[in-house]
Structure formats: structure tokens, C-alpha cells
Symmetry: D2
Subunit: 430 residues, 4 copies
């Protein structure tokens, strides 16, 4: 991931030194487990901990010769260690360390993402509550449809986010599965009890059945959840981009003091953050394709997944994290022009009430088909002539004969459209 | 989906007539709910049911004029219905019907898929049990690694499948969410209680917060679970393809009497079913990309998801189903050449025991580094000269000085490698 | 592909009978080549042609036994053929027939697509010419930017389409490559001259170096070109969807007499065709992923590509074709509200001239930085207060001191913005 | 891209300082063009060049305030410039600079990639020539098929690579298209002649019709070509992985002195580079999905493509470059065990000659159907009993009655299978 989109603390997870630290953390946890089971002398882990040296440069130098990163790490760290080195990496295969380290890193990253996802959810809830009763034009196909609650937009994003929280929690459980079961996953040279105990120390748990590696459906699922999370933010950002269009301008992405929208056009305030989120959502879903392809490894494993994962697992985590932090800010600081939202109704000549008029006719005994035709005629007329729909209806003979003027007025009441909003919120738990 | 890969009963879900039947089923459920809440006269639903006519040709004719499939359906079905037609589709928008029908169809399809997934799981378990103690060469990077259990391969597929069962069950719950909340999802012209009651009759439940449509993250998740299921079978099929290679030939895909492998080469028995599954897994993952893109609809919905869904939702379901049915057969009828599996050890000169010899040296007090070097030297020698590794070791001075001959022989015992197999199976619940 | 989106003539390419006809066409071409090279008695091809029977049901029955579609075809077609059958499929392998048939079908499909692509291009050109001098607001980030030519939008789509025509032509050349070189592509049992001659008869040419199959990068490239074509129409459709939004309404997708926009809302005219195209573009790009994965076959071929290709190659062709036919109609019949286009300027308070004012100041000697600040202040002010930018500028001290009123007025001339339009069109060749 | 997979010189293209240098290069080229057309005083460009300061830290500081990278760049670079600054970025919009800089960077990157692609092609050709007459078993479906030339494998990769060279050359032409046509691409504030002249200086050319940006189909095509290039290397790497499997071991990826294959198993020599390439090919194709999605921007542009491009364009270039460099090494240093290749025939009992025997029978007048059955019976027998096919045939009554022993022996000659190899090479131009 490029520096531009890297945020702490999640970016600090991915440096080489951090990786080596995780590897060491794992190797020591195994030796501690050995001690517990009397497979190593008491104090060995402690000695290893104090003597182990992580020298990134040195390890990379060794790697140039051995062409294997874990072997270089072991050599580099244990070089001056003395006799305890015999217990270091004992009975393990490289993937035990690498995949358990992925579990550690992804669990930590996933928890950070989950935390930001929940904060994002809270921001959405707050906006949902704040604008619960603000009437706005609902739009389908980009066309004015019927009045609705402005807050409901945010509640819909919140509902999607709540599903994503649940998905991430499930996936996080699986991502916390690791393995210390040797070259082909059968504990040939390590005791299953050692695995269980060492992983427990690390906050992880054994995966059901490993090969040399943790099965990759787990990582693919994680990536697919991140893609869903990204698409959720994309949906929100797309809504804002639409509402910020010059002709609509019902909301505006926060525009900071001193900010400039365009090098050429001094008047521009562009929803650049929303657009950035949109592009990033594309990246997140592209990673899933690789994730799915990584599942079908040869036999007890091939290492084809590894090169891709070194790039996409950190990038996917950082992208999701960055998007969530920015989305919180975006939702929190969103400028909402309430007056404009109400004025929008003017631009569609009261046509948004057409269904209700049609249903009014049906209620008065007209057939569905005739009601539809009556209303559509006036509606298309109003639209074409850009004149008020309500006025046209008033002069329609069928309307006049079927609906008295009091009932008629009532058909254009906005309150009608949000009378069930509380029920929606209540069902959601608000 | 092409006829070639379409199997009953799942293929019968997708015809136009079936779709219209689902739509009618939904419309009637709503009228029944109306009756319960006294929003329609008692008996209305019954009358509608008896008078409704699904005439596919006629509906398609109407659609040519109105250019809207649900409107054509309503018109076609209610044309001769009489007064009850007033309650038909009352307060609903097309998407209420369409998305609830998707929920019905995907729930039914998903249940069929789940059933086959469980049967596939059972076949894997049976093979896992049958070959629990059959020793085979474990391979990493395509290279012989260490002895392991042949059954463990199947247990690993089973474990992945068990996760997929769990994923599908979760996704099925979500896919069973539908909506009957009108044009912008705010129950403007329909009572939330009607939705709840009608969906209950259909075996569905209301989604948390709908727009005009059921949110598409639900469908994207479903597609991503199907992709995971597909990738699981791809992994299994890839294993068989490898094991069936001429030089390996440890297993063979079932080859039916009368079958011909090649139009040119009469001797061929090819793993064509496994290859077919591999290609289909690619299709399944490609659908997810579209699924993710379908999430970010404009405002209260645009209909861009619809054209793609008409194609990919049935195709994805049918592909997954077809693959599962074929995979069961494949696993059940798989020909396993046990003798060949054992003979495979000969082709790598006892090198698969190299780690154990190294660990033996470490146990005798040699440093990890020196042990590795000692063993690697003999190992590379054996490989290069294509001669027995064990014999070379016997003549090595360091080995001779460190390990007595009894201990030495013990290092080449296969039983050692499967002594923890029972623990793995036990953890899995077997 | 579902019937709903299948159009003749392209859909007629894909039936089973059509496929068998292509296979027969190829088999006969080979025998004709044999005759030419005196490798078969004169008249053999003619006899085969007259005696060959394509009975779809029968072939499928045979396939149930032999589990191989080409073998079943050969058996079915030659069953009652007599001695000539000896020259039928002689020296060929199934893939010779299957891949050459793909070349035939894709070439024909590709030519149909190319023809529609060129017609689509013509429609775009016509609109580009028609609206060459119609002033419209250019929008970036969805925000009004600067005046531009409405026709230029179509010219930009046309330019992209012209690149796509060129790409498709290149790809069509490659897709027309086939092979008749036997089981592993080395002409073991067939003369290279036979291949050349038979393919020539079929309007094809030999691929450079085949394995058992035509290399799949060729098909992947074809799919990627279709995805580009789809994305081009998606861009056009997205533009229309934006311009048809209620608040903008500068254009409208054709709405046929009798058409209904919504089952609930009689007033709706929705850009459903544009949305349909958008969804289909997603499908087209999803196919590429499978196309790329199909390239890396094992050794001289595995058949994993085949199951996917049977579905996606026809579907991709038909989807592209359908989209092109519909896009032509869409562009041709597009309703353009010229008055509305001009009125749009009112909604942004003359802010679209801000860059020009800034450049005016720079020309008068003010620094870029100061000019930007001066103009941005008035611009943001105008936007916030929703008042005329030009009026605000008139009262600005710096403006007054730097620009006289005649020069000032000139800064707001629309003609200025399209004075280079002719040059753009000229460069394009118009 | 992570450091691990970044190679010079291509990685040096992507730093921030390099980007700013490209931007400056462009800004100056425009001023030079101004001078030529007398739109700026002579010497302005020279002065700008000498006074312009690229101070990365300072620019980033400014960006924090203005939240716009190009504006920050302009401000940072021109801060102390004096009067010439008035001509800096005059008439341009940010995208003029950014997209022209992409063209510069991608053209340079593309040329580097093309150079390596050609070198890779040369390595393939050399191996194709070297092993032109080395007989090997051709394999389809992973099963022995018929004898063929080992060099032909490389020629097939070379043919694909030659197509990729051609694709990249075409795409490079398009990627070299840039634009300097202002905020909405209509040259409102800049002369088309300035664009032409400035781009010429930069080695670029104007794109046909720009919006605010260069149309993104150009970049998507470039990414799809890189994906094809990647898939080509994946195919080659997959072949090697297969041929290096323990049971096959016909080739071996170079294994350097000191290298270690496994931290656990001292005997392992794994095709890790091939596997790495395989994983990277997955990454390359995932980028295309984003590339296709980036095409359909809103109106005269939105900036959603930008965040993704900042990551994937450099990453895609570097990944392709890295893969090509490594693939050259891989092919060049590949260890080929010629003896093993010949010995492989033993493992399939002469079955690879089955087609030829069948054709021999047909030539002797037996029907195709009967010939197939005769040969298949012996073939399946030989396979099942793992005994020599040729011996079984010798005892078959039909064979004996149809083919005399001299002709029979001839059917098992390997030379027969490569007698057309020279023709294939000749057609290819070798």
C-alpha cells in the first residue's frame, strides 16, 4: 500500500521488523509449551527471549544466500544463541510460523477494522436518528419516486453495516485459526498438545485440519468480507456524490478551510473523498478474485498463494481501515442542507404523490387498470408541460367525480409517508 | 445456464412459468394478510387464487407493449378477474414482488444446494475414515515431503466443506429476507404488519431496512459463499487430477463402461470430470465480481443489478448444484490404487524421512545448523545420484558417531508419521 | 444466455444442431483437403456430405454411453455412412474439431458484433455532429465545471468506440486462428498442408504453434475486448442516466407509447435500458477473469477451460451484441431537451466562468495565487448564498481595478468555450 | 508494491519526487510551447527551469492545507519563482498534468516491460531451438498422450509471447496518448497547438477526444495486456512445476548454491520461483477488474479512478516487470534432465502409440469404429495390468491378421512424431 493511504496503527503491523517479531513471538510460545510439557528444560524460553536478536539487515543478507525467508530468520536470530537454539523451531515447518503469524497479524488487523467499523456504524446511527423525520424525495432509477425519511437512508446503510459487523466477527473467528502441525499437518514431529498450548498463549486456536498450511478458504472469506464492507461504504459515498451534484446539492462532503477544489476552477467543491472511497471499493473487490484462486493449492500445499498474499493481505486490510476512518469523518461532518432537501419537491411538480392518488381512486372503487391510466395521463402531462400535477388532477373529470376535495388534499400530505418510520426504527432496535 | 449442465430439481426453479407462479404466490399471500387484518373482504384471496390465470404467452405479449415485466404479469393475470383485482398488488411496488420472489427462489435453491453440500460432506467423511491409516507420501510444492495419512486429504476437504456448510447456512438465513414495503421501502401504502404476516406465510422474513429493494450485499454474500464452495471442490478435483497423472496414478476418476477418453487415442482415461469442475469453479468466482458491483445502487435503488441477476443468480445456483452432485459421484466412485500409493515411496529414495533424521541428530546433541547441513548433504546426493538416502546416511561419519543402528532404523518407520492421526480425527469429532 | 436477452442472428449460432453443423463443415473440409492432396479418393467428401446425418437426439443418446461429445458426434454422423467413414476425422483429435469450430463461431459472432459496433459508432457520430455547437455545462465530480459542447460528449464516446473497433478487428484476426494438428499439435497423423488447405476453405488460418488446442490467450483477449466494448456503452449509459435525473432532465431515454415506468408510480419514466446496459457491462467484465484463468492449461492441454467456455463464450458474444443493438436504438432515439440544457446554467449562478475570470486577472498582471484567491472568495460566496457570481465579482475591488467592464462582459461569453470545437472535430476526421 | 518484489529501474519511476519531476517536466514543456507560439516571453521556460524547486516535504505540508496534490505542487514549486510563475500551469487543469504524467510514466514503464518481454522471448526461442529434436511425452489432461518435441513446448510459449509483444506494442502506442486541453477537454483556455507541441517534446501525442481526463479504456487495455503477459508466464511456470514433480522430474528450476528448500526437510528442492510467478499472475489479472470499472466515469470525469490507479498502475507494472526478469532467469538456467525425459516413456507401457496403431488398422482397411475398439481393448488392458501395450498387440488376432511385423514395428518409431517439427518451426520463422 502506498504511504498516501496508510494510517497508523494498522500500517505498523506490516513492516519486516514487525513480521520478524511475530515470528519470534510464535517460536518462543512453542518453547514455552515445550517447557510446560517437559519437552525442554525449564528456563529455555526465557533464555531464548533474552538472547534472540532481530537484525533485519543481517537476516536479509542471509536470505540472499539461502533464498528462504524463514530459514534466514532462524539463522539470523539464533546465530549467537548457544545451546538453547536446539529448541528453537524444533519440530516446526516454516509454514507453521508463517501462517500462525498471518493469523496474528490478520486477527490484530481485523480487530482494528472491526473497531472502526463499529464507530462507522455509530456515526450512521446518529445521522439516522437526527434526520428520522426529515422529509426528502425518495428516488428510484435516479427519478423522483415518493416522499420518504432522510434519516432512513442512513438507517439503511447502518443495517448493511450491522450485517457487515456480524460477517466480520464470524470471519475474525476463523482468521484466528492457526497451525503448528509440521510439514504435512500430521504432527509428525510435534505434539498436538504443544500446538494447542502455544496457540492459546498467542490468542489463537488450532484450525480443524491443516495441511502444511492453514486452508486458504479462511483468507478468501476474510477478503470477501472486506469487499462487502468496502461496497457498503461505496454505496454510502455514491449517495452523497449524487446528493452533492450541482443540480441537487442537498448535502456536501466536508470542505475544510483552506482546501481547494480545482487548480483551474476556483468555484469547485468536489466530493473527492467520496470518489476516493468509490475507487478503493473497487480495489477491495478485486482482491477477492485472487483470494478465491489461492484456495486450490496442490496436494498438501504449494506456495503460489504466498507472493500474492504478501501484497494483498496488508493492502486489503489497510484499504478497508483507511476507508472506514475516512467514512466516519465523512458521515460525521457531512453538511446537510435541510432547506434544499425540502425545496427539491418543487422540481417534480408534486408527481411524487401519483401512486397515492391512484390508490385513492382504487379505494373509491375504480379498477386498478383505470386508476393507473387516469393518473398516468395527468402525470405524463404534468411532466411534459412541467406544470403542477396536483392542479391538473383537480381538473380531471374522473378525479372530480370520485374524490371530494378534502380527501383530495389529504393525498398530498407528507406525514402520510413517514407514519411507519417509527415502526422501522423500532424493528431495528432504536 | 446451458442444458448440458442443468440438473433437476434446481433447473426447474428458473423457467418463466415458475417465476410467474412465485409472483402469484406472493401476491396471494399479501391478500391473505389483508384479509387477516380486515383490509380486504374475507374470501378475496381464495377467489383470486381460483381466477388467476398464468398464461406465459399472453403475459409476454402484454410486456411487448408496456415494457415492464411485473405490470405485464399483473395485467395478464388479473385481466378477467373481476372486482377482486382491486386487492391484487395493492400498495405494492414491482420490487416487492420481484425481490420477494428472488428470496423464495434463492431460499429453495440454497436449500437444495445445502442438501447436496451435506451429501458431499458425507462422501468425504467416508473416504476420510476408509483411508485413515493408509500411508501415503505427503507432497508440498509438488515434491515429496513426508509420509502422511491418505485419509487426511479427505478430512481436510471435509473440514473445508464443514466451514462451507456453516457459511451457506448463515447466508441462507439472510437470503430468506424479503420486503413488501413499497416504492421506497417506507410502507407508505402498505402496513408493516401485512409484510410480516405475508412473508411468514411464504417462509420468509422482513429484511432489516429495505429501500425499494432488498439490499444487494445479501446476494453478493450468497454468491461469494457459492464461490467458496466451488473453490473447495476445485481443490479436491485438482488433487485427483494430480494423483491421476500417468506418472503418479494413485487414483482414478470413475471411468464408466463404454466411455471413451479420446477420439484419437484409444488408451486415454482422462480426469475430465475433475477438469470440468475446475472450469466451473472459475465461473462461480467470476459471478462474485458482479455481485459486489451490484451493491452500490443509486439512491433508493436503480435497476442495474437486475439484468445481471437474471443471468447469474440462476447460473450460479445451477453451477454449484451440478458441481456438488458430480463431486459426490466422483468421491464415492473414486478408484484408489492402494498398492500404487505405497509404491510411490520408492520413487524418492527414502528422502521423505530427512527431517526426522535431522531431528534425530538434534536430539543426540548436534546443533540444528550442523544437523541440517549433514542431512542436506546426503539428501541432495541421493537425489542427484538417484540412489537410496538411507544407504548414504549409513555411511556418513557424523551419523554413525551419533546414532546407533537400532535408533537409526526407527527413524524410517511410517507408523511414526501417523501416530497423531487419531487425535486429529478426534478433534474433528470422529 | 437467457431468452430475454438473446437476439437473432447471433443467438442462432449457439444451438447444439448449429454446433454439429460446424463440426461437420470442418470434417468435410478436411476430407476435401485430403482429396486435393490425393490422400483420399476423389469424390469422398461429396459422398460424406450427402450421407452425413445430423440427428441431435441420436448423438446425445450415444454421448450418454461414451461420455465424449465429439466421439458421439462421429459415431452418430457416420453410423450409416459406409466406407467413406474411414476418412472422416482421420488423423484428427477432438480438439481439432472443437477449437476450429470455436474459431468459426467466434469469427461469425465477432463479425456480427463488429457490424453492430460500427452502426453504434455511426449513431454516436450523428449525435456528435447534430449537437456540435449546442452549449452545455461540462461537469466534473458531478459538479458544474465549465461550458462545453453537448456534441463533444458523443464524440468522446465515438472516439472510444473507434478504438474498440480497432481492438475488435485485431482480436478477430486472432480469433480466426484454428488448428488441425492432432493430439499434441505436432501433425503426427496429419499433414500441415492439409490443415492449411482445410482452414483456408473455412475462412480461417492456422495458429502459430498449437498444443492439442488453440492457445487460450486468444480467447481471453477476445473476452477482454468485449469487456472494453461493454464498458464503453456503460459510460454512455451512465451519462444518460445522470442527465435524465429528475433535477437535471436534459435528456430522456426513449419511452415508447404504452410503456409503463412503474407498477406503483404512474408518473415514472425511468432509464431502464441504460440501467440494463450498466448491469450487462458488469457481466462482460466478469467473463474476462475466467478467460485469463483459462490460459494456463496443464502441459499440452487440460480441458478445464471447456466447461466455462461452453457457457461464457456464447453468453459474452450475445451480451455484447444485445447491448450494441440496444445502444444504437438508445442513441438514435434519445430525447434531447435543448432548452433544459441551456437552462441548466441558471442553477449554478454563472460560477462556471470562474476559471476564465481568474485567467483574466492573471492576464492583467495579477499573480496566479492572488487571482485564484480573489475568484475563489467570490465563487464560494456566490455558492453559499446561492446568488449570482457575476454580480458579486462586479462589486469586487480587485476585479474593478484590474478589468474594465467591456473585457469583463467578454469573460462570460459561451462562444469562447467552443471556439476550438471545430479543431477537435477536424482532428478526429470530421 | 512491496520492496521484496520491486526491481530497478522500474521501481524508481514511482516515488513522489519522480512524480513531481514528471509534473515539472510537463509544465515546462507547456511554457516552451507558449514561447514558440509567442504566448510567453522568450526565456520564460528557461527561467522557470532554473528557479523551480521540488521540495517534497514542503509540498506535502502545503497539501495538508489545500487537500489537492497538484495545487500543492504548483504552490510549492512556484513559491519563490517570481513573475514567471504566471505562465506556470497557465490554462491547464490538474488532470492535464496528472494524466500526461501517467502517460510519461506508463510509456517509460511499458518500454521497460517490452524490453524484458523481448528478452524473455529470446530465452524461450533459445530453448525451443536447443530442444527441437528432443523427444518427450506429450500430455493431455495430465495423461501421457503422444510423443512430441520437448522444444515445441518452448516454441508454444514463444508464440504466445510474440502475440503479447504485439499486444503490448499496440497498447503502448495508446498509453502514450495524453491531453493538455483543460477542465472539460475543450481547449477553453489553451490552444490545441500548444498541446500538440508540448506533448511532442515529451514524446507523447494528443488523445483523440479527451474529457477532463484521458479516457480510461486506454489504461484498462494496458492492464489487460499485462494480465495476458502474466498468464503467459503462469502457463510456462505451471509446466515447469509439473515437470519438476518428484515422480516426473524432467526439469528443475535453478537451485542456487547455499539455497535451502525447507526449514524442516533438508532434501527439498522446490519450484518456488514458478509458484511465485503463478501467484503474481493472479494479482495481474485482478487489476484488470478495477481497470474495467474505472472506465465509466461520470460526465466529463469523476475522480474515482484515481485512488485505485495510484496503487494498481505502479503495482501492475512492477509485478509484470519482476515476473519477466525472473522468468528469463528461470528459462535460461532451467535444468533439463534429458535422460529422464526419455525414460518417462517407460512409465506408460508404449501406450502413447495407440492412435498410430489405430490409424494403421484403418489404413489397412478396418473401419474406424472397429479399429478404435481393437486398440482400446489392448490399451486398457495394458494400463490395468501395467504391462507392455506393444506386447499385447502382438498377440491380438486382428492386429496379426492386418499388419505385418515390419509395418508393425514402424508404428512405434518416435521419429514419426517429429517429422513435421521443422515445418512448424519454419512457419514460425525459425
Amino acid at each position: 500500500m502506498i504511504e498516501r493511504y496508510s494510517l497508523s496503527p494498522i500500517k505498523d503491523l506490516w513492516g519486516l521488523e514487525e513480521q520478524y517479531k511475530r515470528w519470534l513471538e510464535i517460536e518462543i510460545a512453542v518453547v514455552e509449551a515445550f517447557e510446560e510439557k517437559n519437552q525442554a528444560p525449564q528456563g529455555t524460553a526465557e533464555k531464548i527471549r533474552s538472547k534472540a536478536v532481530i537484525n533485519v539487515e543481517k537476516i536479509l543478507e542471509i536470505e540472499k544466500v539461502v533464498d528462504h525467508d524463514v530459514i534466514a530468520f532462524i539463522k539470523g536470530v539464533t546465530d549467537e544463541m548457544g545451546d538453547e537454539a536446539r529448541y528453537f523451531h524444533k519440530g516446526l515447518t516454516s509454514s507453521d510460523v508463517v501462517d500462525t503469524a498471518w493469523a496474528l497479524a490478520l486477527k490484530r488487523a481485523g480487530e482494528m477494522i472491526l473497531e472502526e467499523l463499529k464507530k462507522y456504524y455509530d456515526e450512521l446511527l446518529q445521522k439516522a436518528q437526527k434526520y428520522r423525520y426529515l422529509i426528502t424525495v425518495g428516488r428510484t432509477h435516479g427519478i423522483h419516486a415518493e416522499p420518504t425519511s432522510f434519516g432512513l437512508k442512513f438507517l439503511s446503510f447502518a443495517a448493511e453495516t450491522r450485517r457487515n459487523i456480524s460477517r466480520l466477527e464470524v470471519s475474525l473467528e476463523r482468521v484466528s485459526e492457526a497451525k503448528l502441525s509440521g510439514a504435512v499437518g500430521n504432527y509428525a514431529n510435534i505434539d498436538p498438545e504443544i500446538e494447542k498450548s502455544a496457540l492459546l498463549k498467542l490468542g489463537l486456536k488450532p484450525t480443524d485440519v491443516a495441511t502444511q498450511v492453514v486452508p486458504r478458504d479462511i483468507h478468501a472469506e476474510f477478503l470477501s468480507v472486506l469487499a462487502l464492507i468496502g461496497a457498503g461504504m461505496e454505496r454510502m459515498a455514491t449517495e452523497i456524490r449524487h446528493l452533492q451534484k450541482t443540480e441537487v446539492l442537498e448535502v456536501q462532503e466536508p470542505f475544510r478551510k483552506g482546501q481547494r477544489g480545482s487548480s483551474a476552477m476556483p468555484h469547485k467543491k468536489n466530493p473527492i473523498l467520496c470518489e476516493r472511497l468509490t475507487g478503493m471499493a473497487r480495489m477491495l473487490r478485486s482482491y477477492t478474485v485472487t483470494g478465491y484462486e489461492n484456495i486450490s493449492l496442490w496436494h498438501e500445499r504449494d506456495i503460489s498463494h504466498s507472493s500474492a498474499e504478501r501484497v494483498i493481505l496488508p493492502d486489503a486490510c489497510m484499504t478497508a481501515y483507511y476507508m472506514l476512518v475516512k467514512s466516519q469523518y465523512l458521515v460525521r461532518e457531512l453538511v446537510v442542507f435541510e432547506e434544499r432537501i425540502l425545496k427539491t419537491f418543487d422540481t417534480s411538480f408534486n408527481l411524487v404523490y401519483s401512486q397515492r392518488v391512484m390508490l385513492g381512486l382504487i379505494e373509491k372503487g375504480l379498477s386498478r387498470e383505470d386508476s393507473y391510466k387516469t393518473v398516468q395521463k395527468c402525470a405524463l402531462d404534468a411532466w411534459e408541460k412541467r406544470t403542477d400535477f396536483k392542479n391538473l388532477l383537480k381538473e380531471d373529470e374522473i378525479i372530480k367525480s370520485k374524490i371530494n376535495s378534502e380527501d383530495f388534499e389529504e393525498l398530498f400530505s407528507n406525514d402520510y409517508y413517514i407514519r411507519n418510520i417509527d415502526e422501522i426504527y423500532k424493528r431495528f432496535g432504536l
